[in-house]
């Protein structure tokens, strides 16, 4: 499927050469968007007027013979927790209804500089808390491959928009797997960059020490291009880092691949396991050496992740009080305590409240050491063990998700729901880059294979994932 669509580079080349009537193309695309998106509901906001205006302006510059950017005329879906000037940013929450950011996130500035066109804001789990994109206040996103199933989350709208060919590119954010999970469920490529590789300025925070903005596309080459554009040091995010010089990238010949034993344990579905092991065999055919390895502290990863994420969330979400922006439900003469409580109680969804309360608990006096500090220690152990593993292996491999996309409305407890993030959270705790690449289908449903590399090893991931894609897509 991927090979049929034009690559982003080719689209940009044609637009730059004036071979496309861009305004006409964008106008007809955006005209049809609400109908295309009726069943999937990838978008919370379709930016029709803005996109057409932008296409017109880019086309004018092409006609004048100006050199255009690397995303010239390419459409993007932007997760609704990333600020785009003049477009709503709700994070799929009622508490941010009516909020229109007066500025662009750094990643958006960089996309605009390269002449990309934003087609709209993508649906998600409320405040990026979830793996289904069903917890938002404005209705669920459905999986384009099977409308009865979830698209994954929390960047479900972004992945679904790309899978359903509504946009060529999308941006999601990944705090514990929120780019890779929907990429896996929707059979597209999604990258969680190294912590610090991409600026978080203008991204609504959920858990600052874990999250990164990540690109989504049908092919590895396009993900790599978008990553190159959005990454790099930004003075407005003190945790962002300059990209280090490209390290030598190993080809697949002689590549040392570690299969993480813990990722194939209890809870993995047979079909998923088979496809991922097939992917590993494919890498062997391409000349790689695969070997089983164990990272024992992975046993702590899920608990450590949720403790840290909820603690940070409870602090981050205390800013929503209905005074400076967003929803404000108490307009009378109530005191601040009553007014804040009313707005927060009626505007936050169930999962968001649950995480705020748990985060408040694990940070409270007497419990901080038992939970938060222990989780930080577990995080250190994981960092040490991964560092050690990367002495023996160039990349680590496993299934992105242990299960196939669940059906909408499947009843699970919150804890059961958290448990399926078990393979994606380690990369966030450790801060390393991780990519999910389509690994075929089983029973008609997509499977994703996850590759992880050492800090700032994105080029290695692109090279390996690209080689794999070449022989499988």
């Amino acid at each position: 499927m991927g090979k049929l669509a034009l690559s982003v580079r080719e689209t940009a080349r044609r637009v730059s050469a004036g071979e496309v009537d861009l305004e006409e193309h964008v106008a007809s695309r955006l005209e049809r968007m609400p109908r295309m998106d009726r069943d999937v509901h990838a978008f919370l906001y379709v930016a029709k007027e803005e996109a057409i205006e932008r296409a017109r302006e880019i086309q004018k510059r092409a006609k004048r013979g100006e050199k255009l950017g690397r995303l010239a005329g390419v459409g993007l879906a932007i997760k609704d927790n990333i600020c785009v000037k003049g477009m709503p940013a709700t994070c799929a929450s009622k508490i941010l209804e009516g909020f229109v950011p007066p500025y662009d996130a750094t990643v958006i500035e960089r996309i605009k500089r390269e002449d990309g066109i934003i087609f709209g804001k993508a649906n998600m789990d409320e405040f990026a808390m979830g793996n289904t994109s069903t917890s938002g206040a404005f209705g669920p996103t459905r999986n384009p491959w099977d409308l009865e199933r979830v698209a994954g989350g929390s960047s479900g709208g972004s992945a679904a928009a790309v899978a359903a060919s509504m946009t060529a590119l999308a941006l999601g954010s990944d705090t514990g797997g929120s780019v890779r999970c929907p990429a896996s469920y929707c059979s597209v490529v999604g990258l969680k960059p190294t912590y610090g590789a991409v600026s978080r300025y203008g991204v609504v925070p959920y858990a600052n020490s874990l999250e990164q903005v990540g690109p989504i596309a049908k092919r590895v080459e396009d993900v790599a291009l978008l990553f190159e554009i959005i990454s790099g040091r930004d003075a407005r995010d003190s945790t962002s880092a300059e990209r280090t010089a490209r390290k030598s990238v190993p080809g697949t010949k002689g590549l040392r691949v570690g299969l993480i034993k813990e990722f194939f344990g209890e809870g993995i579905q047979e079909g998923v396991k088979k496809n991922v092991l097939d992917a590993s065999a494919k890498l062997e055919e391409l000349g790689a050496h695969t070997e089983w390895t164990s990272i024992t502290s992975l046993n702590y990863a899920l608990a450590a992740y949720y403790i840290v994420a909820m603690a940070e969330a409870s602090s981050n979400l205390s800013r929503y009080d209905g005074v400076r922006y967003g929803a404000s439900l108490e307009k009378g003469s109530a005191d601040w305590n009553t007014a804040f409580s009313k707005t927060r109680t009626e505007s936050f969804g169930t999962e968001v409240k649950r995480r705020i309360l748990l985060g408040t608990f694990v940070l409270s006096a007497g419990y901080y050491e038992a939970y938060y500090l222990k989780a930080q220690r577990a995080r250190s152990l994981l960092r040490t063990e991964f560092k050690k593993a990367f002495k023996d292996f160039d990349v680590l491999l496993g299934p992105t998700m242990p299960v196939l996309p669940p059906k909408l409305g499947d009843k699970v407890t919150p804890l059961e729901d958290y448990l399926i993030d078990v393979n994606t959270v380690p990369a966030n705790l450790v801060g390393i880059p991780s990519i999910s690449v389509p690994a075929g289908f089983t029973g008609g449903l997509p499977v994703g294979v996850q590759l992880m590399a050492p800090h700032f090893g994105e080029e290695t991931l692109f090279s390996v994932a690209g080689a794999y894609e070449e022989v499988t897509a």
């Binding site: 020490s209 003190s238 300059e242 400076r324 409240k353 419990y367 407890t413 804890l415």
Partner: protein, 96 residues
């Protein structure tokens, strides 16, 4: 010593709600008591991590603060999103 494996009571849930400025009805309190208890019980897997493990800080060579210089700003753009205003002022609930 730290307290571990606490039993979460409805009172605890209510106290957390008050701290987080989230009101809960009695059905929600009971539901959350159960959910929070089972999630916190699961979290205790980290008990096995030894206290001797040093918490390492992320070190970034690149981390540096930007210069403290006034840049362009858009006060009217920012004020546009304020739910309740009085001219150039943000109207907030009474504190006393």
């Amino acid at each position: 010593m730290t307290k571990s494996k606490p039993k979460i009571t409805v009172d605890d849930v209510r106290r957390l709600g008050a701290l987080a400025k989230i009101s809960l009805n009695s059905a929600e309190e009971e539901g959350l008591r159960k959910e929070l208890s089972s999630i916190l019980e699961y979290f205790h897997v980290v008990d096995k991590v030894e206290d001797g493990v040093v918490v390492d800080e992320l070190k970034w060579d690149a981390v540096s603060l930007r210069r403290d210089e006034v840049g362009p700003s858009d006060p009217e753009g920012v004020l546009k999103g304020v739910p309740q205003r009085k001219g150039r002022f943000v109207k907030a609930p009474r504190v006393f």
